[in-house]
């Protein structure tokens, strides 16, 4: 009870946003590693997809991810609304402070990029998970590679996907390092600098890694 109440304060809420966000980033890293198998060939990619779909843990894992996403979104939206109501009257003139401030286009657009990513996620799942079923030559194995190639051969979809990954990068550019701050890990100067750089690096690797796939498929497959 005490813990639940503490998690509903502004500090506890951001703790939850950070924790769920980092767990979702952990999912993205696994998802990226799996997807990159397509660069190694359709068989390997399809075998990976088959192993994933047929794993009995996949449904509980999906439910857990959905729960993480709901907590992340719910707490983040409440945080934004609370911030707005904490300043009912706007300044006539307001400028960015500059200097050591970490305020960036990424940090000021977290709510917008988050809403975009939710919309993207719905389209993404509809396109791939619930997309057309192609059977592969191996019985009972879905030919996901064919679906991926078919979709990314459409230049509009490929370009749109790359842009969406740019927005993933933007969200993570602030999100990852901000999560470390919310979890109270940036209490000393050396680690703060390391974690800020790590957050940037992770954002670039995840966004760049996912964006590589449509480019690769479009150009080489």
């Amino acid at each position: 009870m005490k813990v639940l109440r503490a998690l509903s304060t502004t500090v506890g809420s951001k703790f939850l946003v950070a924790l769920t966000g980092l767990l979702l980033v952990g999912f993205l890293i696994g998802h990226l590693a799996g997807n990159l198998l397509i660069l190694l060939g359709g068989d390997k990619f399809n075998a990976y997809g088959h192993a994933l779909i047929t794993n009995p843990l996949v449904v509980p894992a999906e439910l857990a991810l959905m729960a993480l996403l709901l907590v992340h979104m719910g707490k983040a939206i409440a945080h934004v609304l609370r911030g707005r109501s904490a300043r009912p009257e706007a300044y006539a003139k307001k400028s960015w402070a500059g200097g050591p401030s970490r305020k960036s286009w990424a940090s000021t657009t977290m709510a917008l990029s988050g809403i975009f990513l939710l919309a993207f996620l719905i389209v993404h799942i509809a396109t791939f998970k619930f997309g057309p079923y192609y059977a592969s030559t191996e019985a009972g194995v879905r030919d996901l590679q064919r679906l991926v190639v078919e979709i990314f051969k459409n230049p509009l979809y490929a370009a749109g996907y790359v842009v969406a990954m740019g927005i993933v990068g933007l969200h993570l550019r602030h999100g990852v390092s901000s999560a470390f701050q919310s979890l109270g890990l940036m209490t000393n100067g050396v680690w703060t600098a390391r974690l800020l750089n790590f957050g940037l690096l992770l954002a670039v690797i995840i966004a760049g890694g996912f964006a590589l796939i449509p480019v690769w498929v479009y150009l080489f497959l």
């Binding site: 502004t10 703790f15 300044y91 401030s101 940090s107 701050q181 940036m186």
Partner: protein, 246 residues
């Protein structure tokens, strides 16, 4: 020199305010920003008009009483400077300067540029203290504290509670102020006894008074006249996490 001002005028909390244009003539570059406002007020009084209300006390940057938004930045353009220590040599003839009060639900406006910052006092009342037994005075240095720790605690203790952090924050969050107090006390043995109850009580008080949450952007740190670091907010988060998980 001459500067043009756009100053927020509002006769009281329940009436609507607006930016009013003034011209400050004969401004000396050696004047402080508040002395420039004093001179404008003298001309207003001479004309029988209501002078611009603003807060100030020590005028040497140590008390935390002054504080207005100057061109959209708390305390004006210079880093680690209160508005009383901002000087008119920073400006040139013909400049236009916009002056507004801190804006936050937790800091209700009293008049013109004066806001009620007693919400900060209520946060302190909730836990910004250490309980000590009365009786004979303890021997000096009976509790030894490493110099590095004492220095770090002192850095946090330099917060003057002016409210610039709240004014700069897009969420009007009091996280930097509260965290400076929590950090200062949690670093020292005298404060560690009540560390867990303190951080919970002060965060509750912060929320009850209508401040927003922290988005970790660090605008507060950049505008703080005492250079209070964002490390303090990380320490607040860490202390809160510890209180939560024990």
């Amino acid at each position: 020199m001459k500067v043009f001002l756009k100053v927020w005028r509002q006769a009281g909390p329940d009436v609507t305010g607006r930016l009013v244009d003034y011209t400050a003539d004969n401004v000396s570059p050696d004047m402080s920003f508040l002395e420039m406002l004093d001179s404008v007020n003298e001309t207003l009084i001479a004309k029988g008009e209501e002078p611009i209300a603003f807060d100030s006390a020590c005028r040497e940057g140590i008390c935390g009483t002054c504080g207005v938004m100057v061109d959209g930045r708390p305390h004006g353009p210079d880093p680690c400077t209160t508005v009383c220590q901002l000087h008119m040599r920073r400006y040139k003839d013909g400049d236009t300067i916009v002056i507004e009060p801190w804006r936050a639900r937790a800091f209700p406006l009293i008049k013109d540029l004066v806001v009620d910052r007693s919400a900060f006092d209520r946060i302190i009342q909730a836990g910004g203290y250490t309980s000590v037994n009365t009786g004979g005075a303890q021997d000096a240095n009976a509790i030894l504290i490493p110099k590095t720790v004492a220095d770090e605690a002192f850095e946090s203790a330099t917060c003057i509670g002016c409210g610039a952090c709240v004014a700069a924050c897009k969420n009007a969050s009091a996280a930097l102020f509260t965290s400076a107090k929590v950090t200062h006390l949690s670093l020292l043995p005298q404060g560690q006894v009540e560390a867990k109850t303190r951080v919970v009580a002060m965060v509750d008080a912060m929320d009850e008074n209508g401040f927003g949450g922290c988005s970790n952007e660090g605008e507060c740190e950049a505008v703080c006249p005492k250079g209070i670091s964002l490390k303090n907010i990380a320490t607040l988060n860490r202390e809160y996490r510890r209180a939560l998980l024990s």
